[in-house]
Subunit: 135 residues, 2 copies
């Protein structure tokens, strides 16, 4: 889907505790550093829909399992992917797309490295039922 990219990241095994790569300055998908934050999503809960008009998202799921659905309201396309340490990919989402995500295990956390700092004026929120998707 245009505006969405997935890139597999490395998990480096270590008997004391693994190391998870996320994003580097030289990665093609790295744009600008605005902010980094974490979002937990409880089992079966869905956060969304949110559309950013300026922010580029770079997301990984180092803990638990989260299903992401991305919807383009112009083309009516949607894209879905479930991320976890078993499917450890970095998801890049460009502005202009609706995003929602659902927790699929007991403890689920995403990390987002965003290209700009949080600004409530650059994003829009709509209620879940406003975009038809069979969760």
């Amino acid at each position: 889907m245009d505006g969405v990219k997935l890139v597999k990241q490395r998990i480096i095994g270590n008997s004391k505790g693994n190391i998870y790569h996320f994003i580097k300055n030289n990665d093609n998908e790295f744009n600008k550093f605005g902010e980094c934050y974490f979002s937990f999503v409880n089992n079966s809960e869905i956060k969304g829909w949110k559309k950013h008009n300026k922010m580029i998202l770079n997301i990984v799921v180092p803990l638990g399992k989260i299903k992401f659905v991305i919807y383009n309201s112009e083309t009516k396309e949607n894209f879905e992917v479930t991320l976890s340490s078993e499917n450890y990919q970095r998801l890049t989402v460009f502005p202009g797309l609706w995003v929602a995500f659902k927790g699929l295990s007991e403890l689920n956390m995403l990390v987002n490295l965003a290209s700009i700092e949080h600004d409530p004026n650059e994003s829009e929120n709509i209620e879940l039922f406003k975009i038809n998707y069979n969760w």
Copy 2:
């Protein structure tokens, strides 16, 4: 301790899952974006000692509980702090200090936003017993 800084970060409560702030472009402690990665450390395991000669570390612990010990080999000072979601502070460590950390609960994860990309030539590792600390 010189070269070490702690800054409390916000946790925003949400019934679907909390949001944890980590670091923003405009924060005083933000220097440069080199890389972001995660390190798990199992219960009772200790990772360290490592000294970076160029990298500035910015660390939070969104999951579990981790004790950090920082040692200045010139002044013989040490500094310790235990971070978790109960004591949710961002730890900044400047180059030239020895760092080690120990997992204190079942599942422990730190997030590090580093000022440069990983480069094995800018850091030194020594075995745990080489610096006397009663873990």
